[in-house]
């Protein structure tokens, strides 16, 4: 029997809702270090994070982030490794990982492009931009494009975060160049990066648009 039940074509579907457990698996308790190998670098990174806080559990987010960098996504294996070092259960960490938008619990491309489609950006054409970027990257397994909520850069709307680098405002005709930069490992649209932008308040009020 298939797990897919879609009685309504427009009903929302959350992955996981329809999943039963696999009864052949053992219950998932805290992984035993004797049987869960963890790459040294990752272990060191997690242990360093744990040392920063009065309570080791506080390191859950940095540890998951480290595992995601290491494995590309928060795979079950990655989560088990974090669980093993932090002495937590993998379920606990899954609960944490699925809560936050930046953790990927499904495989994704090496490059993450978040396109802001929240109010300010969409007022400036973000929805169309997002669609364009998705099209341009379609079929490239290395690039994952997803629309994102406000990234805190409405001054450069419409904008995107490319592997953490903020760029904008992005014109529709710059999309191909942007994707090309990403594909070739170049900095994305260098002239449009937020880091180079002066504060609006320090510019003369000469009436020129800077949006």
């Amino acid at each position: 029997m298939s797990n897919e039940v879609r009685r309504f074509s427009h009903g929302s579907r959350v992955p996981g809702w329809d999943d039963a457990v696999d009864l052949t698996k053992e219950p998932a308790s805290v992984p035993d270090p004797a049987t869960t190998p963890v790459p040294d670098e990752l272990r060191a990174e997690i242990e360093a994070a744990m040392a920063k806080y009065p309570d080791r559990r506080s390191a859950a987010l940095p540890a998951l982030a480290a595992a995601q960098r290491h494995h590309g996504w928060c795979s079950p294996e990655a989560i088990e490794q974090v669980a093993c070092v932090m002495r937590l259960t993998p379920a606990y960490l899954t609960a944490v990982a699925t809560f936050y938008d930046m953790f990927d619990t499904q495989p994704v491309g090496r490059h993450r492009v978040y396109v802001c489609t929240n109010i300010s950006c969409s007022l400036r054409g973000a929805d169309e931009l997002c669609e364009r970027i998705e099209q341009a990257a379609a079929g490239d397994p290395d690039i994952s494009v997803r629309h994102f909520e406000c990234l805190g850069a409405c001054d450069i709307a419409p904008m995107a975060s490319v592997d953490g680098v903020y760029v904008g405002p992005i014109e529709l005709d710059e999309v191909d160049e942007l994707i090309d930069d990403i594909r070739n490992g170049r900095p994305p649209l260098p002239r449009k990066q937020l880091r180079l932008r002066p504060t609006a308040d320090s510019l003369p009020l000469d009436g020129k648009d800077n949006g």
Binding site: N3, V5, R7, F8, H10, G11, S12, V14, G16, W17, D18, D19, A20, V21, D22, L23, K25, E26, P27, A28, S29, V30, D32, P33, A34, T35, P76, I79, R87, L88, T89, P90, A91, Y92, T94, A95, T98, F99
Partner: protein, 806 residues
Amino acid sequence: MPRPEIKMITFSIDGREVQAPENTMLVDAAKYGDVEIPVFCYEPKLGQPVGACRMCLVEIEGIPKLQTACSTPVKDGMVVHTQTQRVHEAQEAVVEFLLLNHPLDCPVCDKGGECPLQDISFGWGGGRSRFVEPKRHFQKPLELSPLIAIDRERCILCYRCVRYSQEVSEDYQLVLQERGAASYVATFDGHPYVAPFSGNIVELCPVGALTSKPYRFRARPWDIEGAGTVCTMCPGQCNVTLTVRDDRVLRVLARDHEEVDDGWLCDRGRFAYQSFHVDERITSPLVRVDGELRPVPWDHALDVAADALKRAGGAVGALAGGGTTNEEGFLLQRIAREALGSPHLDSQRAPVDRRSLLAIGDPGLQATVPDIEYAHAVLVLDTEPVDEMAILDLRIRKGVRRRRVRLAVASARPSALDGNAALSVRFAPGGGPAFAAELVAAARGEAASDDARAVVDLLRGAGEDVVIVASERVGAALAALADALGLRDRDGAGLIVVPSSANGRGLREVGVLPDAGPGLAPVARPGLHAAEMARAGAEGELTAFWLHGVDPLRDLPYRERWEQALDRATDVIAHAAFLTEGIREHATVVFPVEAYAEKDGTLTHPDGRLQRVRPGIGLQGRNRYGWQVLADLGRRLGLELRVLTAGMALAEVAAAVPFYAGLTQDEIGGRGIRWQEREAASAYPRPEGLPDLAAPTVREGAGLRLGTFRSIWASPEVEHSPALRFLVPRQRVEMAPADADRLGLGDGQRVVVSANGSRVEATVTLRHAVPAGSVFLQDGLVRDAANTLTGSVVEIRPAVTSEVAG
């Protein structure tokens, strides 16, 4: 730790003045004024309220916003309204929100009729919905584990189950995934939710989202009756309510008893009721004819048994265990001693002499179960609560989590509580009594190991109220330790001694011991203890065995010797519920033993609470009450026992055990009573000094030291409950990675573990926390059990026959 004092205050609810204990949450305080405030997420057993469902909003004068009654402590002079327009609107709104995506499939829901969501929608809802969008629909029900089904459509995201998994059982296996409206209850990567206490979530779920697979669609609430009794599957003796339909037990629910179980059950207690109604149960007396056990009429079986026992002429070894009640144990020992003239009686797995038992059972040294929660420090010594007295595991966790009890664990095998402990120390397998002696030395300021000193420092540093939870086998040193720590006569401090069988304490106190009679009185002619009986049997000195709720091959050490003994014995009379190997192969007469659901009698909890086991269903098959069978046997052996009812049997017990004097079934009632709290307690015999404490164990030569343990899942009830069968343990050898490396073994590999020529097969399980030099095997298994090995130093090599992981 002193418990908080309760002060009564007066507040006003819906215009009436009501008295309630200060700082109780409004939801509970309202009940003092007969006002019900609806709740979903609030469940005080889960700890601090979370205020998530918003069902309990009420109006409090002086606070502009509506407040959640589940999280607002009541104060003197508070003025609360639950019947205003604003409150009604808010409650209706919450019900409407909760039902938006609820499938409203009550007609086919197992919870129907006993569902808080139905009741609250009926009582507080607006009775309409304005939601016209399609509801979420998903596949239902799905498996969450072999025991529990989950129907996520019905889930109202009240957080109860996940809070339970994180804050009560602390297995952290069940979690909420995703966020917001997309949240759902799940486990890691499709692993099943299997944990010793998982079934409690079924009872916690306020809707039909989590249901018990064994109970699904077996009955509707109006078909069933509830019957209160006590589970006899381990010394925890949790209070339960049996759901009975047509004289069958269909479900077991917790019957909250704060002093015993705190309202939780382990999965064995919750699901093993299935074994009451399986065909494999013995429900008729059996007699061996031509090598085969055959059903026979009662009179015949009783005659055969009486003849056999008579024939043995005093060379009878009698053992009691399992769920044997005080009454049964008492009658058994009377018959053995008075009618058979045999002093050979035992109810313990490892021998502890009378003087030691007298000392550790002293009322001045006893702690109660709730003391664990309020103690300054708890020491868990040479016992694994989750396996040996499951429910204590949750109590200890609760103490640590909610009341910051300092926990020390001293054990040979890594413990499930290590993660909660402020200090965990390991000793060599079998070294419990010796380590306890070291603790005594440390507590007295004498020379002791660093570990022992560290434990004592921790206990002393935490405060005066120390509770020691220890296995009975530690023996005499426990009393010495309690005294050295100054625990005598302290309220809230003392010992909780975990016996080796469910009613171990009761059996001891009614005299099922080789060197003590009822009330732990000395006996003129001490008999052999269990291990000596095995030897004596093997050597032909004992010719008959009388086994009440015990199968020595399964339950006791020295299996090989027991095999010889039972083999050689002319007669083996057994009272059993299942034909386990020892009974099947060796019994000459078998009397059926009632399931606890049929039983009538009393048990003594390890903290001294006498509790009643009461029949919830009629006797199955041709079963008879255990006390009745013994009385009939006694009569045939020339001993008139004067018991015609269970109450009369209890009266006999109470007359013989001075510190139980005057106890009646009525006095015990539904909640039990601790004998230490009754006047008769003063009749407890004066302690008579202690034997010498155990000397430190010395490692014998090379090789790996074998430790054994019996899993909570190693029991015939589990084997015979279809739902639990998947949990029946298979032998595995737990070892340290270093030892495995040295021997060239890997995790999951099949190996042969041998000692002195005896051998068992097992699968290697590497455990980081196992100390190098020690290995652990399980007891109580059908095959390859640890008691098959005849030595405590073992060799391990790869199994040749197969290399497949099992």
